[in-house]
């Protein structure tokens, strides 16, 4: 696989494949199966797929109930609509430590024209506030596939944040929770990029290094917002003076906040953490390119910002 592919599609293909090996996996959707790509599982295992209609809250509850009976439910919708049912997730899944896997697609301003109502922009903030919840964000197809299998084998709730837009392949090491794969060496500054932001951050870092700006940031794929691994984080904070976290998500409570909280509390030397994302504003309609540009989430804008 070398072309570009959206992580929602990677998810759909992976779940359809793993359904063979893991017979307890079941899948729910709420009238968005063609968008979340759960339709690929639905076609292969119609008996293990549940079309709930437009009932996200009911879907969450049903999945919790099924998990108590030993099934491994994947529940799929746009991240905005799924995590919008916060109390149901908090109580029926989080508090109960239900073995439910939440799939939130269409995250970030990069969904484009549909605008704010359909954009997952606060989903990480919400999900990482729930104890027991593991919060993951793959940056490419291979990583998404590995995360899906990891989630099947992990006992407890997992939130997987996926993109509408297609992403390139990065050929990274196998997913190990808490270890951010490194894509570029560098010094003093580390770019920690999440999901759809990885390509732009990597290109910007390479641009900065080439253009003799005096900056040569290392680049990591920050593929997990929770739980951060202390050893890995300690090494990062030891090694780099500035950590910049890029995310197509509000900076309020996102992966950048998670890392800033960890560093301010635990780093041996005080370090600066820059949260680089959607700055406490709503989403809106526009082309994906125009919106990413407006929020500074392109390689050019990032390069300019740090030049």
């Amino acid at each position: 696989m070398s072309g570009k592919i959206a992580t929602r599609k990677s998810f759909g293909m992976a779940l359809a494949d793993f359904g063979e090996k893991y017979k307890d996996v079941v899948c729910f959707d709420a009238d968005l199966s063609k968008s979340t790509m759960s339709i690929l599982f639905a076609k292969k295992y119609p008996g293990r797929f549940f079309e709930m209609g437009i009932q996200e809250a009911n879907m969450i509850g049903c999945a919790a109930g099924m998990s108590f009976m030993g099934k491994i439910p994947f529940i799929c919708s746009f991240g905005a609509f799924l995590t919008g049912r916060f109390d149901q997730i908090r109580m029926s899944i989080g508090y109960a430590n239900a073995n439910v896997k939440l799939i939130g697609t269409h995250c970030g301003v990069a969904i484009g024209e549909d605008g704010h109502s359909q954009m997952g922009l606060e989903d990480i903030a919400l999900m990482r506030s729930i104890p027991n919840m593991v919060v993951l964000q793959p940056a490419d197809d291979k990583e998404c596939r590995e995360m899906v299998e990891w989630a099947i084998n992990h006992q407890g709730p997992v939130y997987l944040r996926l993109t509408r837009q297609e992403l390139p392949q990065f050929n990274m090491d196998k997913f190990i929770p808490g270890i951010f794969p490194q894509l570029k060496m560098g010094e003093k500054m580390a770019f920690l990029a999440t999901g759809g932001m990885l390509e732009a951050a990597l290109n910007a870092a390479e641009g900065l290094a080439k253009k003799g700006t005096g900056k040569n940031p290392a680049v990591f794929n920050a593929n997990l917002a929770k739980p951060l691994a202390d050893n890995f984080m300690m090494n990062l904070a030891d090694k780099y003076e500035t950590l910049v976290v890029f995310e197509d998500h509000t900076v309020m409570g996102g992966t950048g906040s998670a890392i800033a909280e960890w560093v301010s509390q635990n780093a041996k030397i005080p370090r600066r953490v820059i949260r680089y994302g959607v700055n406490d504003s709503f989403g809106e309609s526009g082309t994906p390119e125009a919106l990413l540009d407006k929020h500074g989430l392109t390689a050019t804008k990032i390069e300019n910002y740090f030049s």
């Binding site: 009238d31 009932q55 009911n58 609509f81 484009g112 549909d114 109502s117 359909q118 309609s285 919106l291």
Partner: protein, 281 residues
């Protein structure tokens, strides 16, 4: 009795459908199916001498009837009708749908465009907002009505059924919900995905005044929507998704995709030729 009026309205409707199609085609994204199914419904409310009491020249005055588009993805229809009935939305602005900076967001944004009563797009919330407006009319002894338009897929959301229970309890005779019953949602026909039947019985048993009409007939819509009742009202409008464009009608594939140049041309021809839709029985 109002036949002349309905003929006038029917004359206006092809232009509204044309605008909707052009807006979506220009944006190269949007929801033609559910926009075309509710043209007659929204126009019956807002048209000159229509059901709603409001002054398009003073669209924000406090004392007026209000309309909440709960199925927010059909906003091209709302924008096109607002423009047609004299709100300050020009033809040029219509064509800015879904562009960066436009007031005409992909789903209604009350903060940008004050003529939309609620920011919707997350289905299931508009009926409650309309209920709140109805409660406020009562509180302030304002003799006005509020209408909300829901989709049939949307009606699967639990929050709608909280309104079903709550509004009769609050004796909200000033609240009318309208169902755009086009029998389709995204993953397929509504009765396959999650059936609402028996729909009339359900709402009636919750204490609502229920009417069933042809949602493309101006006379039937006008009669049902003008009706006064001591109870909150549910108007079930039987409609056709994609109405007016033969290759879109009843086809769920057209829920959320824009026509290309060729398809737009065909669609515009059909829409221009068909001036009878609102006069159907």
């Amino acid at each position: 009795m109002n036949n002349n009026l309905f003929v006038q309205w029917a004359d206006q409707t092809p232009q509204i459908r044309k605008n909707i199609l052009q807006m979506i085609a220009k944006a190269q994204s949007g929801h033609p199916g559910g926009s075309l199914s509710c043209v007659e419904i929204i126009y019956t409310l807002m048209a000159p001498n229509g059901v709603m009491k409001y002054n398009p020249k003073k669209p924000l005055e406090r004392e007026r009837d209000r309309f909440v588009l709960s199925k927010g993805h059909a906003c091209p229809t709302l924008y096109a009708v607002l423009s047609a009935v004299g709100h300050d939305i020009s033809q040029d602005e219509l064509m800015s749908l879904r562009q960066l900076g436009s007031r005409l967001q992909g789903h209604p944004d009350r903060a940008r465009l004050p003529y939309v009563e609620a920011s919707t797009g997350s289905l299931g919330q508009g009926a409650s907002i309309a209920q709140g407006i109805a409660m406020s009319y009562k509180l302030d002894s304002l003799n006005h009505r509020v209408f909300a338009l829901l989709g049939d897929g949307e009606m699967q959301e639990g929050q709608i059924w909280e309104v079903a229970l709550s509004a009769p309890h609050q004796k909200l005779d000033n609240l009318t919900l309208i169902l755009d019953y086009n029998k389709g949602q995204i993953d397929g026909p509504t009765n396959k995905v999650l059936s609402l039947d028996p729909l009339t019985d359900k709402w009636r048993s919750f204490g609502w005044e229920v009417s069933e009409v042809n949602g493309h007939s101006y006379s039937e819509l006008y009669t049902a929507l003008s009706k006064k009742s001591p109870r909150p009202q549910m108007v079930i409008a039987h409609t056709i998704k994609g109405r007016g464009v033969s290759f879109m009608e009843g086809n769920t594939d057209w829920h959320g995709r824009a026509p290309n140049v060729k398809e737009l041309e065909l669609a515009l021809q059909e829409v221009a030729a068909n001036r009878q839709i609102g006069l159907s029985n």
